[in-house]
């Protein structure tokens, strides 16, 4: 058990390190640096930069040093929770991101809870009533969920909401609550806006999980012990829920490690389409305006949070699955 825990922890640390490296590379990728972009911008506004001024600016931001020194300095700052200034907004990156990160996390977590909440009963139903009309309907819906990309689903829901109900599904807050400080009213407002994006986000993941759960459970239901349980006169509910479902749950639980990155990815996209106040639109905007420090901080934070989430889900798995807890290989 300790070995498993240690292995997971080491892997998580390496992953976080890999993410910092990748984000730093992304930060450096665009041709030219911020000073170039800033110069072009001010030239367009009519005030030209001299070469000396540009050099002074580069020096001020440390852009004139070798790349690995920049990486080290950046890493040291990041380790202390200082992500630097957003070039575009002229404010600390953390301040620009603000609540958006937590809204992203809330959206992703809620979507995962809904994914599980939907996939588990539907998966059980589809397996127990295999080839029934309900099974076919859910299978069909599942394939739609798999085949329609997140952003397209958001787009279609937005259009239908507008056409059929005259609703604007976009946003996480009503106009008057947008800039208000946190209060119960604002929270309630958020609660009214969340269901549509959460459902859209949950659908694709649900489709996958239903298929996994259905397949797992079908395998278990064919085992002789199920027949034995029935022969002994156990109630149908007890026969199914007590053993086969529990056995089928393990591979199901292990998928959460992939579900989390998948959902976080999806939340970025649908936030852009539905203009939700998460980090999604901010990331897109900062990438388009090459505010790389802001963009890479968002990518970094999303990556790290995902790794932490995955680690937590591994602990959960350890708690559910005694084979891991007792130190055997999965």
């Amino acid at each position: 058990m300790l070995a498993y825990l240690a292995r997971r922890l080491v892997l998580a640390v390496i992953t976080v390190w890999a993410i910092t490296l990748v984000t730093f590379i992304i930060m450096q990728l665009p041709p030219g640096d911020f000073v170039d972009a800033y110069m072009a911008q001010s030239a367009a506004m009519g005030s030209a930069f001299s070469a000396a001024e540009a050099a002074a600016m580069r020096h001020a931001y440390g852009l004139d040093q070798p790349i690995w020194v920049q990486y080290e300095k950046w890493l040291a700052l990041v380790a202390h929770g200082q992500f630097g200034l957003s070039f575009e907004y002229g404010r600390p990156v953390t301040e620009v991101i603000g609540d958006r990160l937590w809204l992203t996390v809330a959206l992703a977590l809620l979507a995962i809870v809904v994914t599980w909440g939907l996939a588990l009963p539907i998966g059980i139903y589809s397996a127990v009533r295999q080839y029934s009309i309900g099974d076919y309907i859910f299978t069909f819906l599942g394939f739609i969920g798999l085949a329609v990309p997140n952003f397209l689903l958001a787009l279609i829901v937005m259009y239908i909401g507008f056409r059929a109900f005259g609703l604007n599904v976009g946003g996480l807050f009503s106009a008057d609550q947008q800039l208000a400080p946190w209060s119960w009213t604002k929270l309630a407002d958020l609660g009214r806006h969340l269901p549509a994006p959460v459902l859209i986000l949950a659908l694709a993941g649900t489709a996958q999980l239903v298929r996994i759960m259905r397949a797992n459970l079908l395998d278990e239901l064919r085992r002789p012990y199920v027949m034995t349980a029935r022969a002994r006169g156990l109630s149908e509910h007890r026969v199914i829920l007590k053993y086969p479902v529990r056995a089928a749950l393990n591979p199901f639980a292990s998928t959460i490690g992939y579900l989390l990155p998948f959902t976080v990815s999806g939340s970025v996209i649908i936030s852009v389409v539905l203009s939700l106040d998460t980090v999604g639109p901010l990331l897109l905007h900062s990438l388009l305006s090459q505010d790389m420090l802001l963009a890479s901080t968002i990518i970094l934070l999303l990556g790290i949070l995902t790794v932490i989430g995955t680690l937590l889900s591994d602990l959960l798995l350890m708690w559910i699955d005694p084979r891991i807890r007792l130190g055997q290989r999965r």
Partner: protein, 377 residues
């Protein structure tokens, strides 16, 4: 159960059984695949889409890049199939009317003017497969200028014919998927093969790399990498850069399948037999192992393709993938990004239909192939 054999059952195998016994693996796979009706239909759909991709230019009606603001946001036209009781399809001409309150131009069919559709009509000039210069299109109107009168799926804001653009987008989006999958396949087979065959340190390292790649949310990463593609690059360069970015992260699943197959096959008796017979390692891999998991690879590829197509479409939709003047499904959908446009021109959402159909078809096809890949199972 008695030990005596029933008298009416012959001891020799039935004709069907003996057919199976002597069938080649390829035949068995084909028989198994044929049973999966949905997969067969999907295969036909996929082939049809690739035919559209190959013959995109002759299938397009109007020049897809030709803008004309006075034709902006024309709604899709209805085709009238019969004229005075005989089969002679036509569309009505359009009459633009300016709304004097909003000063917006809106179009209404003009029943006094009939434009007859013709097959193999003359239209804009192009060269077929980049070789044969021609101006023959499958569908057109009699006067040879369909861009002024034929709008099967309506037009976009700049007056470009959506049908023609959709046909050309099919070519871009489907080939980007193929190129991307080929790249990931090369990476996946190399690294997965190394991992499965070599084992030891190489296996551990590659497996950890895959685990790390899979635990990072891909979309933000893709967005970051795609945003770094310089704006000055030509559409072709952007095309290859985006394909590369997508496949750099997309190879992990294919590598996993390849590794799994290698690990499973290593234990098989016929591999041990080949080893004992003194076959070289290369001969074992290419003569014995590859043929027996080729079908699995094909199934994995057809399941990886839709993911590639979704990735490209998503990136282009966000404005980080292919950029106009390139035409892909994502680029077309980018026009339909906000509610105002959708309310004004809902037909722009037509571009969503081929995306959904192709992805569904590939998924069903992949499912069918995966089931058929192991015909002895």
């Amino acid at each position: 159960m008695s030990l005596t054999l029933p008298a009416d059952e012959p001891l020799v195998a039935t004709e069907a059984e003996s057919r199976i016994a002597v069938a080649t693996q390829r035949q068995l796979i084909w028989w198994r695949f044929r049973r999966h009706k949905l997969a067969v239909i999907s295969a036909v759909v996929v082939i049809a889409f690739y035919l559209v991709a190959i013959f995109a230019d002759p299938l397009a009606v109007s020049p897809p890049w030709d803008t004309n603001a006075s034709r902006g946001y024309i709604p899709p036209q209805a085709i009238h199939w019969f004229d005075n009781g005989s089969f002679h399809p036509y569309v009505y001409g359009l009459k633009g009317k300016r709304d004097l309150r909003t000063f917006k131009l809106s179009y209404a069919p003009d029943p006094s003017e009939k434009r007859y559709l013709t097959l193999f009509a003359r239209g804009y000039a192009y060269s077929l497969f980049g070789l044969i210069p021609t101006d023959i299109h499958l569908l057109g109107v009699a006067d040879g200028h369909p861009e002024n009168s034929l709008f099967l799926l309506g037009t976009d804001q700049m007056g470009r014919d959506l049908f023609s653009r959709l046909v050309l987008a099919t070519r871009t989006s489907l080939t980007i998927g193929l190129v991307g999958v080929t790249l990931s396949l090369v990476l996946g087979v190399l690294l997965g093969g190394l991992s499965g065959l070599q084992g030891g340190v190489a296996d551990v390292v590659i497996q950890r790399v895959i685990e790390i790649l899979r635990s990072i949310p891909t979309i933000p990463l893709w967005m970051g990498l795609a945003a770094a593609v310089p704006t000055s690059w030509s559409p072709n360069q952007v095309y290859f850069a985006i394909t590369l970015i997508i496949s750099l992260i997309g190879w992990t699943e294919l590598a996993r399948v390849v590794r799994g197959r290698f690990l499973a096959l290593r234990e098989e008796d016929f591999i041990t037999a080949a080893e004992l017979a003194g076959a070289s390692r290369m001969r074992i891999i290419f003569r014995h192992m590859v043929p027996s998991f080729l079908s699995h690879i094909i199934a994995a590829v057809s399941l990886a393709l839709p993911a590639m197509i979704i990735s490209e479409t998503t990136l282009s939709f966000l404005g980080l993938g292919l950029r106009p003047p390139a035409i892909s499904w994502g680029v077309l959908l980018q026009d339909a990004q906000n509610l105002e446009t959708l309310a004004l021109a809902p037909w722009l959402l037509f571009a969503a239909i081929p995306v959904i159909v192709v992805i569904l078809a590939f998924n069903f096809l992949g499912d069918g192939l995966r089931d058929a890949a192991d015909p002895y199972g």
